[in-house]
């Protein structure tokens, strides 16, 4: 009688720090509670948003009775892959025209990073990846489980609440030749601090001179500045120099497809032959993980991207989301200025994308949660998408009180 479980030694894992914030928020009964934890867009009314163009696309798919639910190929929906590559690299990209790019559908950004990481750990010669400090909390776990050794490079400067450019160049300059470098294509998560165009060019030169391998995480294309092309410039700059790179794309935020898990991994190679061989090896990573990717979300994306009108409609809705966030930044900055909250808060409007790294410490954060029912990650990161004109004053009050109390 096997009364002893073979898993009797399993201890309960700690809550995921980011998703755990929402868990705590849900438990709170205060009417003033504010969830600035997870990075999912909210409207002015604080509601999740499904884009109109997405609803339309979904309706089209449901009404098309000729559609079936067969397995996708291992690499996913071909049309989706082509359109995704064009979206990030540009429709006229020589790399695409020369067939040097392999693109495979994956489970959102996370899945793309994991599949890319696993491929690297099997086929690349330098198994160290440098990730920025700080970065999205899941990055180290993804790459470690993929079989890579994770190191960090300096990125955020708490003193300026901006980029530690000198530190970044030093650390990447000291990296072993061939090392992999994770780069946030735009709207760095969690800091919202991005390099300037000039800085990107210097980073590119350094990376190429040391033969480091860039791996882009593009989770916010279009969502950061409101322009799909502008938000892709860092990636396109690297591809334009003819070198190789990996790119993980996510449609979670910019198309609001969060739970559908839609994303793509592109590997830009030197030749078409290499790209083809690389693709065949990517299949061997994917097949024992989940066989083939889910069809629904990718079908919605393909439907939208390939139709000129729907594509335009999407860019308009996307810009509206980006603009609302930029407005929230301005309002929060103005509210803190109006209250005379000590300190320089200009980083709120200088940073970009969904998140602001407020610079608040964990004591201040804990205070804000306890006394003001503000939920955010303990590193001081707030999701601007969770704010509205109505709730900005409450947040400003909380920050003001926290700084006064624990300044």
């Amino acid at each position: 009688m096997d009364s002893d479980s073979v898993f009797g030694n399993v201890v309960r894992a700690p809550e995921d720090p980011i998703l755990g914030v929402t868990v705590a928020y849900n438990k709170d009964t205060s009417p003033n509670k504010l969830n600035l934890g997870v990075g999912a867009y909210r409207t002015e009314e604080g509601k999740p948003l499904v884009l109109n163009v997405v609803r339309r696309a979904e309706q089209m798919l449901v009404n098309d009775l000729s559609r079936v639910k067969e397995y996708l190929p291992i690499v996913g929906l071909a049309e989706f892959n082509k359109l995704s590559a064009k979206l990030i690299l540009g429709a006229e990209s020589p790399a695409i025209q020369e067939k040097r790019v392999t693109t495979v559908q994956c489970l959102s950004g996370t899945g793309s990073l994991r599949v890319g990481g696993e491929f690297l750990s099997r086929h690349y010669h330098q198994l160290t990846i440098f990730i920025p400090s700080p970065t999205w909390g899941n990055h180290p776990k993804v790459f470690t489980l993929a079989g890579l050794s994770v190191k960090t490079y300096r990125y955020y400067d708490p003193a300026t609440r901006g980029l530690d450019f000198h530190g970044l160049l030093e650390d990447l300059g000291a990296a072993t030749e061939g090392s992999i470098v994770l780069l946030h294509a735009c709207a760095h998560n969690p800091t919202g601090v991005d390099p300037t165009p000039d800085q990107w060019e210097q980073i590119r030169q350094l990376i190429r001179s040391k033969a480091l391998l860039p791996f882009f995480d593009s989770a916010y294309q279009g969502f950061a500045s409101g322009s799909l092309d502008a938000d892709a410039q860092s990636v396109r700059m690297f591809v334009a120099d003819g070198g190789e790179c990996l790119i993980a794309q996510s449609y979670a935020k910019n198309m609001g497809l969060y739970g559908e898990r839609v994303g793509a991994l592109s590997i830009v190679c030197k030749t078409a032959d290499v790209a083809s061989r690389v693709e065949s090896q990517l299949k061997l990573v994917i097949r024992p993980m989940y066989s083939n990717p889910p069809i629904h979300g990718a079908s919605i994306v393909a439907t939208i991207l390939k139709d000129r009108d729907m594509y335009n409609e999407w860019t308009i809705e996307l810009k509206a989301m980006a603009d609302r966030i930029i407005t929230m930044r301005q309002q929060l900055f103005d509210a803190l200025s109006a209250r005379g909250t000590p300190g320089d808060w200009s980083h709120i409007i200088k940073q970009i994308g969904m998140f602001t790294f407020t610079g608040l410490n964990s004591k201040q954060v804990a205070f804000m949660t306890k006394d003001y029912h503000i939920y955010m990650t303990s590193d001081g990161r707030i999701s601007m998408a969770g704010l509205s004109s109505k709730t900005v004053p409450h947040l400003a009050d909380a920050i003001h009180a926290a700084v006064a109390r624990f300044g």
Binding site: E58, D241, R287, S291
Partner: protein
């Protein structure tokens, strides 16, 4: 801050010598990977222009016109879902509602284990994802254990446990001479496996052979686990519940036997075939634990493995499942539609066997109707299979596996004749 387009153009226009420095690729040493043997069959079929061609390679259901099927209950569920709900992230463990309904199917509608909250369960990426999560979990928490895999099995099982870095061994299963189960050897292998081995079992409709243990044999296997070996872990891959006999309760018999005998098992469930949700990737991984506290711990660790793989599972397919199983009328409709699929396959088995016997085949084809589920292990050799393809444009995997779903009243005669021709002098 963001680029301005003008500045960006200026920078990109300048082609840097540094970028073009290394002309050779990082990937020049990457070998082309071998083609997937199963999916390669369909590719070859699609490329064949012959009007007589038959595809009995694919493991997806086809109706009597050879067309893929979307179940009515699924269409209705999708109509209800579309445009109604948001697409927020599911929790890491997936849709709670979907998982609840799915556990009822495997463990029983009124299962005490569900009531006592003893099952750690998470939504998974169909059956593959469930097996992979479990393999990763096994590696992390039973690092010294091995997995025993039947011979033969679905080829991807080997890939899954290999990528999870769990050492694998095999146990006897298929008996070529009888085209049935090699029960004695199976029992021996399990008995001789080191204590604490993990044993992969196909709950019903074994893939690729269609050969299942009888109820009595299942009882003996369970008995063996209970009294004669120490602490083996039984992991069930159940990809065809309802699809095998037409009755989901009956198809779960093997699992229920093990549960009655008190084993703490693991189960991978898939809705790919029985709900026709193939491309949606919907499934569930569950692990029965000693108590609620342990179930909570195990579930939290499964989530820790899912988070760095895909963060949280896709919502659409899960919504379809929970919409159907949560509505008594839709659930009834589903059960009816599953039975239709299973019955069609069972009738094709009977028809194929009948046709072969009528043709006066010298061989025995009893196994066609004895085997169960989507696949039939015909017993044909690779050379005979090659002849079927070359001379008759019939496509199947070279191990002689026939996908019954590809057989229709329209092509069963042609297929029987072809098989007869290549085997009559065997």
């Amino acid at each position: 801050m963001a680029f301005t387009t003008a500045m960006a153009c200026r920078l990109i226009g300048r082609k840097s010598v540094i970028g073009a420095r290394s002309m050779s690729s990082w990937w020049r040493n990457v070998e082309p990977a071998p083609k997937d043997p199963i999916l390669g069959v369909t590719e070859a079929f699609l490329a064949d222009p012959s009007p007589d061609k038959v595809n009995v390679g694919v493991g997806a259901y086809r109706d009597d016109n050879g067309k893929p099927v979307v179940l009515e209950c699924v269409r209705e569920a999708e109509r209800r879902i579309a445009g109604k709900l948001n697409m927020e992230y599911l929790p890491m463990g997936g849709s709670v509602k979907m998982v609840e309904e799915t556990l009822k199917l495997a463990y029983g509608e009124n299962s005490e284990f569900i009531k006592d909250k003893r099952i750690a369960a998470v939504q998974s990426l169909s059956g593959t994802g469930a097996c992979r999560l479990f393999a990763d979990f096994q590696k992390r928490f039973s690092p010294d254990s091995q997995i025993y895999i039947p011979v033969p099995t679905w080829a991807n099982h080997h890939n899954i446990w290999r990528d999870a870095q769990v050492p694998q061994r095999t146990y006897h299963y298929y008996h070529p001479e009888s085209r049935g189960l090699n029960f004695a050897a199976l029992m021996d292998d399990i008995k001789n496996a080191p204590n604490g081995s993990f044993i992969l079992l196909h709950a019903c409709a074994h893939n690729p052979t269609g050969v299942d243990p009888s109820e009595e044999e299942w009882r003996e296997i369970s008995h063996l686990f209970k009294f004669q070996v120490k602490n083996h872990f039984a992991f069930f891959d159940m990809a065809y519940q309802g699809f095998a006999s037409g009755d989901p309760e009956r198809d779960a018999k093997s699992i229920r036997i093990f549960l009655e005998d008190g084993h703490h098992i693991g189960i991978a469930q898939s809705y790919a075939k029985n709900m026709g949700l193939y491309g949606q990737r919907v499934g569930c991984l569950s692990v029965l634990c000693e108590n609620e506290k342990q179930a909570v711990a195990v579930k939290s660790q499964l989530q820790q493995l899912a988070r760095p793989m895909y963060s949280n599972p896709p919502v659409h397919g899960a919504l379809i499942v929970s919409t159907i199983l949560g509505d008594p009328d839709l659930k009834k409709l589903w059960l009816k539609e599953v039975k239709v699929m299973a019955d069609r396959i069972i009738s094709m088995r009977a028809s194929l066997r009948e046709n072969l016997e009528k043709l006066g085949s010298p061989l025995s084809w009893k196994h066609i109707t004895k085997q169960i589920g989507m696949f039939c292990y015909s017993g044909m050799t690779p050379e005979q299979v090659d002849r079927l393809t070359k001379e008759y444009h019939i496509y199947m995997t070279r191990n002689g596996r026939i996908s019954m779903a590809g057989i229709t009243t329209g092509n069963v005669g042609y297929l029987a004749n072809a098989i007869h021709e290549v085997t009559k002098s065997a």
